[in-house]
Amino acid sequence: MDVNMTRIRPYGDTLDDGYMQLSFTLPVPLSAEARKAAEILAEKMGLEDVKVVYAHSIADSFSFFVVYGRCIHSVDMTAIDIPKVDADFMSYEEINEFIEKRIGRKIVVVAACTGTDAHTVGIDAIINMKGYRGEYGLERYPWFVTYNLGSQVPNEDLVAKAIQVDADAILVSQVVTQRNIHIDNLTHLAELVEAEGIRDRVLLIVGGPRISHELAIELGYDAGFGPGTLPSHVGSFIAQALERSIRNRAEAKGAYPCQMNP
């Protein structure tokens, strides 16, 4: 199939036919006019050959539509550049071995759901012994020391704990994202870490169902992990990023620790 990467369009059953499906609700009773409104709306969105294939009244005052149409737009994918988490994902054993050989001491991690967020599912999956999807959490790794502070932790407490235990990494989980509350909270945490003067010696990492690495970088974090992240992904990143930063600091001082030699 001859796909032009500079002009990507949706694929229905023929290359570049542009077929898309969408469904939405209009806050009006169902009528011929409402159907037409749905069609016009889809056309304004850049669809042509619009077909309202299903329309149904919801509670007398709303109308639900399923619509098909052909998208007139295309995208140049060669012009897209997305930051990705810079790490080679390793297994449980590989991570422990990596830390033992290349860092030579245990990595200290503090973690929490901060702000008003009470959902610890994500942070528990990454940190707690039990882990997630058959993988152990970082607590189980002999070369990690972890502190999971739980839910609704004030950012101040998280940073204070990080300083107290001389943490290498701060992990923050944000599940609730209504009205972008997580952005405010994450920005506040980043500023706090900066203000405490520990930004250069701690990895700042955020995770959550609505979190992307791109967003994390934008907010001044070192990495962002979205849905489907496993403990070993986070573990790999922390180990490799920490090793890099230790090496950079050592190089800056002119020293070169012997265990860095392969």
Binding site: H56, A59, F62, K130, Q152, V176, Q178
Partner: protein, 532 residues
């Protein structure tokens, strides 16, 4: 029809162990009161409102009483003393306390008998009011048609109570039987109840008495329009369990999420505080004819639903035993469970169905509350809609009472209007299409499902016996539930636990228990369809 053949001797053993567990903790519960219970007593006696800083008046009065060391006698004792001391009526005393003209530590303690006579009268009046509201509900249930179970339970969570009303009414018109207003995230950890109608919230809407009233009124309207009684649910959990129960009783809420251990395990609320609060809150719920919903589904949000299935059953037994001790009837105890197994498991549906059938057999009179897949919902709304369909099928086959509908956009956002419509359409289609399947099928003797159910039962029984041997609080300290360890003196809210004095007085438990345990007390909970 042959149902799953479950070892009933083992069920008796499990129930006996749960009973020992509840008996073990009851003396502790009886020896203490909490700030939330005392605030609740004030609310029941008519204290409401906030000061100029939005601090609720019950908090102000109880905090002062606690600081003066008066709370061990019960706030009712001191309110009664104040009435006698000042020669004033209850509303007058409340007004003086609210405006700061009177402080309880300036009141001379009065003779206990006199106090009782004074307060008893007021308490009886409040309780008569709650009974009236219960009868009002029963009248509506009897008058309006009722659909057949499983009842369709739908969530609204816009953060704005007025927007919630629009969404709730739309859901009712689509066929929802039960509307739950999700609370704003973090409310469970507030040691006060916010006041007035609210239009801002995160991931939900604040539970306030005004919001309760606004939604109940809207649903009464919807009930009349739809010709069936639409039930309202809120959260009787967190640090203000008793107060929320009182608010629910006064605004005719129909169901309350009200778990004995949820706050301890999942919100890190102190265990003593939680056990004491849940007991009193459940008495109120029992008296008000409210159906409680327990939160066993939460055990499966981090733990694996297949591996940890027995913890759900064990918790159901404990919730039942504790609820019975608060005077709830079996028909008011909506034990929870969930359809949360990994969809990739071969025969996963059989294991889910085995679990659901088992719960139905072990708790025959409980209005079981079945929770939908959430953990393995991915954002693939198409597969998610199918998973919800399988869940609905399991619900109708196993005869669940309350079906919390799965939403195809779980894991994406709080439900949109059309998401709810699609969820209700899904459930109605399947439950109608397979309505009497339950009566037509039987399960294979010694088959996968029967074996599975008995395995889970055996594991739950042995866990319960272990817990009974070491006591519930020690078991929680050792992390036996949900693999979460909580210290007896840890968590939030311990500072609000107070040992009762000799002259401690709270008029309500006696009034409640006398009525609840009388043979005439039999709240109408559903229409005729369920009884048959």
């Amino acid at each position: 029809m042959m149902r799953l053949d479950i070892d009933m001797a083992l069920v008796d053993r499990a129930r006996w162990a749960a009973s020992r567990i509840a008996d073990g903790i009851q003396p502790t519960i009886d020896a203490y009161t909490t700030t939330s219970i005392e605030r609740c007593v004030l609310r029941l006696l008519g204290v409401n409102g906030v000061d100029e800083n939005d601090v609720p008046l019950p908090n102000i009065i109880v905090d002062q009483a606690q600081a003066s060391g008066l709370l061990e006698d019960g706030i009712a004792y001191w309110i009664g003393s104040a009435m006698l001391h000042e020669g004033a009526s209850l509303p007058e005393v409340i007004a003086r306390l609210s405006s700061g003209k009177l402080s309880l530590d300036k009141v001379r303690p009065q003779d206990r008998e006199g106090v009782e006579q004074t307060i008893q009268h007021e308490a009886n009046r409040v309780c008569a009011n709650i009974t009236q509201l219960r009868l009002e509900r029963e009248q509506l249930i009897t008058e309006l048609n009722s659909t057949v179970p499983p009842y369709l339970y739908i969530i609204v969570a816009t953060g704005n109570i007025y927007e919630d009303v629009i969404q709730a009414k739309a859901a009712a018109k689509c066929g929802a039987d039960i509307i739950a207003v999700i609370r704003s995230t973090g409310q469970s950890l507030l040691d006060y109840v916010p006041y007035g109608p609210t239009t801002e919230g995160f991931g939900g809407t604040y539970a306030t008495q005004a919001n309760f009233r606004i939604m109940r009124e809207a649903l009464d309207e919807a009930s009349r329009e739809c010709g069936r009684y639409i039930r309202l649910v809120n959260y009787c959990s967190g640090l203000c369990m008793p107060e929320i129960a009182a608010m629910g009783a006064l605004e005719r809420l129909d169901m309350m999420l009200n778990d004995a251990m949820y706050g301890i395990l999942f919100r890190n609320i102190n265990m003593l505080r939680t056990f004491i609060d849940q007991h009193f809150s459940r008495m109120i719920n029992a008296y008000a004819g409210v159906i409680i919903n327990t939160g066993e589904d939460n055990y499966l949000t981090t733990a694996d639903a297949y591996e940890e299935a027995h913890t759900v059953l064990a918790s159901q037994f404990i919730n039942e035993a504790l609820a019975l001790r608060s005077g709830l009837e079996a028909g008011q105890i909506g034990l929870g469970h969930a359809y949360e197994m990994d969809p990739d498991i071969t025969d996963g549906f059989l294991y889910e169905l085995a679990q659901a059938e088992m719960a139905r057999i072990i708790f025959p009179d409980a209005p079981l509350k079945y929770m939908p897949p959430t953990k393995h919902m991915t954002g693939n709304i198409f597969k998610g809609h199918l998973m919800d369909a399988m869940f609905n099928l399991a619900g109708v086959i196993s005869g669940q009472t309350i079906q919390l509908l799965g939403i195809l956009t779980e894991h994406v956002h709080t439900p949109h209007l059309q998401d709810r419509y699609l969820a209700i359409e899904n459930a109605k289609y399947i439950m109608n299409n397979a309505r009497h399947l339950r009566e037509e099928i039987s399960y294979k003797k010694g088959g996968i499902m029967e074996k599975r159910a008995n395995e889970v039962l055996a594991k739950a029984t042995s866990m319960l016996e272990q817990v009974a041997d070491i006591s519930l609080m020690s078991a929680i300290e050792e992390g036996m539930f949900a693999s979460i360890k909580r210290e007896r003196t840890g968590g939030r809210g311990l500072d609000g636990v107070i040992r009762k004095s000799e002259r401690y007085y709270n008029p309500f438990p006696e009034i409640f228990m006398k009525e609840i345990t009388s043979c005439n007390f039999s709240p109408v909970l559903w229409g005729d369809e369920v009884k048959g």
